[in-house]
Amino acid sequence: MNKNRTNGRFESALRSGKFVVAAEISPPDSANPQDVLKAANILGPYADALNVTDGSGANCHISSVATCTILSNAGYEVIFQMSCRDRNRIAMQGELLGASALGLYNVLCITGDDVTTGDHPQAKRVFDMDSIQLIQTARIMRDDGIFLSGRKLSAKPTFFLGGADNPFVEPFEFRPYRLAKKIEAGAEFFQSQYCFDVGRLKSHMQKVCDLGLHEKSFILIGVGPLRSEKTAEFMRTKVPGVYIPDEIVERMRKTPSEKKREEGKKICAEIIQQIKEIKGVAGIHMMAYKQEESGAEILEMVGLTEKKKIE
């Protein structure tokens, strides 16, 4: 494993070996910084880092880099997400430099949901680089102090680089190798898509450990509560890459409406307990969009509520 480059709270927490909690923040549709801070209010204090999405679901929001800056100025540790969907390599390298200059050193490089899933399906999809190429580009800038073109930077950026993992969709057998490729490119941490299928996760992690990838990177598993069988149905059909087994949807359906919220939290807590036992898992990534209270309650249920924010 590499040395601690950023000395940031997120990287240091991971390197300390404790079970880490990252929480996802959806940037609001607003130019008011107060709205950004509001979005982080509930989960912020419990998270080792707040992960700020970059136009997730291909919907327009205030930019990830601006949201990160506002949150980081307020004392939060943030992870800046950068997707390949909307920028070419010129814009991406510029923004990477900008992020580092603003003190945003945790960068999660992702491919990005397609434009057709969002509110601007007429937009041009860019994908000038893919996520692996983006990770390697950021690593080259950091380690060699040059742009892709070879032109020299007068000051090298600082990055702790991450990538996405989705063990729950095909081609299953290739997924661990995709992690290996990302590590080769420079990724040191991973955040996965929502886990609702612990069995699948176990076989994925088994292969990841066989390849020794858990010793070269920190792997956080995505979790989040379901509100009802309807949200489950929506997520598994409309949100790219989310797999929810029938048993879980059935369990939600059988629960009386007034208890559905509780049941959704219980399912999530059970999954977290199981994830904690899996070899190679470094922590969780809580995604509780518009149900931040539930997210915080779940963390309480599984005993992960140590306060983390330093002012």
Binding site: D114, Q133, P171, Y177, P240
Partner: protein, 165 residues
């Protein structure tokens, strides 16, 4: 299933053909040099477009990566991913963007497992595409080292080390 679809499921046959074609193109280097890039490229472009179009649904990116990607053209992926699948693959292995189509990378992986010569090349990291090569003959780009025009800073030796495979 059409003839070409069936052919695509015999990647071993295709990789041999690819290897032979590449060797022939390389052996004829002096001839291409005498013709010059413009004329040689113009000569190759159309046959290549028709041939590779029929067999691989080739999109003429001009920087052929077929043997790295299970003899399957990754440019049919709506996100043009050249290093592996996105995280949005649908249940049953269908594409996030076009639910009627199998994810290109599900096919790439399956086929790469049946290949004997270049099968392991799927583990190599592919550099960002040189957009200037678009719509040109990939074979001539190789012959004239145009496909070597990858970003300066890119290190070609990256890829999985052997014990990881």
């Amino acid at each position: 299933m059409s003839f070409f679809n069936r052919l695509r499921d015999h990647p071993y046959l295709l990789e041999v053909t690819y290897q032979v074609t590449e060797q022939v193109v390389n052996a004829l280097q002096p001839l291409w040099r005498r013709m010059g890039y413009d004329r040689a490229e113009a000569l190759f472009r159309t046959p290549e477009k028709i041939g590779k179009g029929a067999v691989f649904n080739c999109k003429m990116c001009g920087q052929c990566t077929l043997h790295y990607t299970g003899m399957t053209c990754p440019m049919s992926c709506p996100k043009n991913l050249r290093n592996g699948p996105c995280g949005g693959v649908r249940l049953g292995g269908y594409c996030e963007v076009d639910a009627t189509m199998k994810c290109v990378w599900v096919e790439v992986f399956e086929r790469s497992q049946k290949m004997k010569i270049y099968g392991d090349d799927i583990y190599q990291i592919q550099p960002p595409l040189n957009q200037q090569n678009m719509d040109r003959s990939a074979f001539m780009n190789i012959a004239f080292m145009k496909s070597a025009e990858i970003p300066e800073a890119w290190k070609t030796e990256t890829g999985l080390s052997h014990e990881q495979k």
